[in-house]
Amino acid sequence: MTTIINAVSGNGLTQTVDGSGIIKVQSNGSTTNALAWINFNGVTTISINSQYNISSVTRNSTGDYTLNFANALTDSNYAVAGSIVNNNASDGWCVKSSGTSSAPTLKTTTQLEVISSSTSGTLVDDISFSIIIFGN
């Protein structure tokens, strides 16, 4: 359940209120605010600096992390954005998949698996992940 405030063309604001503590701000039914976000240090035992709607982060291996959502999302067609901080300019991060044309390994309404790696494909830890999720 979620509290929803929706701006509807020609109809002003509609709202649905509950006690979930989760809010969606919508424009004609499309949610415009982040459904979840997190900033964490991915080294060793992980330290979580701040977050919204994330219940835990699991470190699966070096550079491989699963984000677990506190409240399930409506569907898995959400958008993922973010950044990492590292002293190696060639590092990057992405949603994990088994190949360039493969579906994500784990991108569901309750979990998202992300990896960070060097240009050679070697998984590496990074000190500051910022990940934001938008969707309906």
Binding site: I38, T44, T45, I46, S47, I48, Q51, N53, I54, S55, S56, V57, T58, R59, N60, S61, T62, N68, A70, T110, Q111, S120, T122
Partner: protein, 143 residues
């Protein structure tokens, strides 16, 4: 010190689940980790150089230790990757008509020394110490 949830993952390694505090630890354990996971204080997990070999951690009962043979394999892979990086770097400098800071023989000697030190290492700190001169040389050569 904080409570974390650990379990053996499908690769035979250890996964660590860190709760954010958004929901209770018990809810996280039920919702986000598989059956059989256990709650431990993170101060009981491997520290120092052992912590840097996370992919070599193994869970025995409620204790996490480092599998030294896995750690050796991990360190060897790291050394090989460093050697590949340096080889590419040296090749590009030669292609550009530039001299490498480190001579070929000095570089070869460094690699041999590192591989020998790796093979005789019995601790994770010794593994790190074996690789360190290679990393230092690469950083110097990158200039």
């Amino acid at each position: 010190m904080a409570n974390v949830i650990i379990y053996t993952n499908s690769n035979g390694g250890v996964s660590i689940c860190i709760p954010t505090g958004e929901v209770s630890l018990e809810v996280v354990q039920t919702k986000d980790t598989p059956t059989g996971s256990i709650i431990v204080d993170d101060s009981t997990l491997p520290q120092g150089s052992d912590a840097q070999f996370f992919d070599s951690w193994v869970l025995n009962g409620s204790t996490v230790t480092v599998d030294q043979s896995k750690a050796l394999a991990q360190a060897t892979t790291q050394l090989n990757q460093l050697a590949y990086t340096e080889a590419s770097h040296r090749s590009s400098k030669l292609g550009a008509g530039l001299n490498n800071v480190l001579s070929d023989s000095d570089w070869a000697n460094l690699l041999t020394t590192a591989r020998t030190a790796l093979s005789s290492a019995t601790t994770t700190q010794a593994l790190l110490d074996a690789i360190a001169p290679i990393q230092t040389a690469i950083t110097a050569n990158a200039l």
